[in-house]
């Protein structure tokens, strides 16, 4: 599902964010990216989502070599990738249902499909009762559930999560991780960057550790450290 070969990303000022990274992630895997701040976790995720271009190496996502992908094809690749932000990035003037529907509307899905899929995904994340609420009327955990619903409503093959529990308390984080685990069990590949030791140690999934842009550990059923 995801394959990196000798990928290097260098930012201005010769700051190496990722150095010679080679790895593969299979369909349906749940992978934690761990490491200190600035270790390259976010760059890794941004490379997978075509927000960054590597200086060296090749990246395959969902069967496509994204280096060979025309610029106009990038949006179509992104429809196979869901993205969850640490700060939720919900639209404050839209209701819960409208926030989720927005993700379908802007990729041109017909109205009848939106009407069917939005209530279904909100039921999955446990927010059927709050469809008409604005984000400001929700707790942090609920807002992150809306963000997950928006990322997953188009049933992507891959879900990228950049510290999705970073702004949440431990109890709420457990609820979010249960939800991500449930999504993973549907066959969706999940790649999650995190600093949360408790979550990683509890879930015991594959752990990729980065240190100053270098993959220093790739461990099945791993722990945080």
């Amino acid at each position: 599902m995801i394959k990196l070969e000798n990928v290097t990303k260098v930012y201005k000022g010769d700051h190496v964010a990722l150095r010679d990274a080679t790895l593969g992630i299979d369909k349906g895997e749940f992978v934690f990216l761990v490491g200190a701040s600035g270790s390259g976790k976010s760059t890794f995720i941004r490379l997978l989502n075509c927000e960054e271009v590597p200086e060296h190496g090749t990246i395959h996502v969902a069967g496509k070599d994204i280096g060979m992908l025309g610029r106009w094809k990038v949006p179509y690749l992104r429809r196979n990738i869901g993205y969850i932000f640490q700060d939720f990035k919900l639209l404050p003037n839209k209701t819960v249902a409208e926030n989720v529907a927005f993700a379908l509307e802007v990729i041109g899905k017909p109205r009848h499909v939106i009407k069917k899929q939005v209530p279904a995904i909100l039921e999955l994340v446990g927010l059927s009762e709050k469809m008409s609420n604005l984000p400001s009327e929700l707790s942090g955990g609920e807002q992150q559930r809306v963000s997950i619903a928006r990322a997953f409503v188009n049933r992507p093959l891959i879900l990228l999560a950049d510290e999705p529990t970073g702004n949440l308390d431990p109890q709420t984080s457990i609820g979010i991780m249960r939800l991500l685990d449930r999504i993973n069990r549907t066959g969706t590949t999940v790649v999650m960057a995190t600093h949360d030791r408790g979550i990683v140690d509890t879930m015991r999934r594959r752990v990729i550790e980065l240190d100053r842009g270098v993959i220093v550990r790739d461990q099945a059923r791993g722990v945080y450290e």
Partner: protein, 298 residues
């Protein structure tokens, strides 16, 4: 998948509403600049139509002294009739000149009252074979100073004066409208950049979930086009006023005879309206294209 028209119009409407004041300023600037631009064309059409009437008819007028003897009159008439360079002429006697005078000064009866047909100068209105300005001037000069002749007025001089005035006024109109059109393009650009910044999070989400560049761009470009179209409608209103209230005034029976042909034909008005619309479209597409390519794709 194609962008839904409902979605595009809703987003465009929201963008316009969010930046209402700036949108209004843009629409007014576009309207005024297009009005000046269209006004330049209408004015030129009117001048062309007025001068064409002269060019196709009388080219110079030989005004006789009212006291000229019949012999002097006969000499002038003979010179006109025998000249191979003269195609046609019309003699306007004192009674006919008086009738014309009454028509022109019908608004000032006190002036009409003190003038009698006897003081009106009769005239020969002469059409030369060759309408070239230099030829006409040379021909007209042959009648200057001859016994019984009061003065010779070449219509070409008048036409030249009108055309010179029209050129000067037109240049001012055109320069002003071009400056304002440049300002309007910058306003459209600023307006769209402002809308893009206001909707930064939405745009980020759209990109992340896989909206195509055109899907994101179209509502912003439509915003610029809508502003320009509204400006064009405003300009049309202004051009209608110019046509009816300013140019139309000269076509009325009580206006100066010289300006009687100063009018715009309906096909010329339609062409000018279309041109204004085309310029509005071009300005909006240029402004919005620069905005979306420089600030949206970055």
């Amino acid at each position: 998948m194609a962008i839904s028209p409902v979605y595009a119009l809703r987003e465009t409407g929201q963008n316009l509403w969010r930046n209402f004041m700036l949108s209004m300023a843009t629409v007014i600037t576009i309207g005024v600049s297009l009005w000046l631009f269209g006004g330049f064309f209408l004015f030129n059409y009117a001048v062309d139509n007025a001068t064409q009437r002269w060019e196709g008819g009388i080219e110079f007028v030989v005004w006789m002294n009212p006291e000229a003897t019949s012999e002097q009159n006969a000499n002038i008439l003979d010179a006109i009739m025998t000249s191979p360079e003269i195609q046609d002429y019309t003699f306007v006697d004192q009674d006919a000149a008086y009738e014309e005078f009454k028509d022109i000064f019908s608004d000032t009866p006190e002036l009409v009252e003190v003038v009698t047909p006897e003081v009106m100068p009769p005239s020969y209105r002469v059409v030369p074979v060759d309408p070239d300005a230099d030829v006409v001037a040379e021909l007209a000069s042959q009648f200057e100073g001859r016994p019984g002749v009061k003065t010779v007025v070449s219509a070409n001089d008048t036409i030249r004066d009108i055309q010179d005035l029209a050129d000067e006024v037109g240049t001012v109109f055109l320069a002003g409208s071009l400056v304002l059109l440049a300002a309007a393009t910058l306003l459209i650009l600023t307006n769209i950049v402002s809308a893009i910044r206001n909707r930064g999070r939405e745009i980020e989400i759209m990109k992340v979930v896989g909206a195509t560049n055109w899907f994101i761009r179209i509502p912003f470009m439509l915003e610029g086009i809508m502003q320009a179209m509204l400006g064009a409608v405003l300009a049309w209103g202004g051009l209608y006023v110019i046509d009816q209230r300013v140019i139309g005034r000269f076509s009325q029976p009580d206006s100066l005879e010289l300006m009687a042909g100063f009018q715009v034909e309906s096909d010329e008005l339609i062409f000018t309206g279309g041109l204004v619309l085309g310029i509005a479209l071009a300005v909006s597409v240029i402004g919005s294209s620069i905005a979306v390519t420089r600030y949206l794709d970055a």
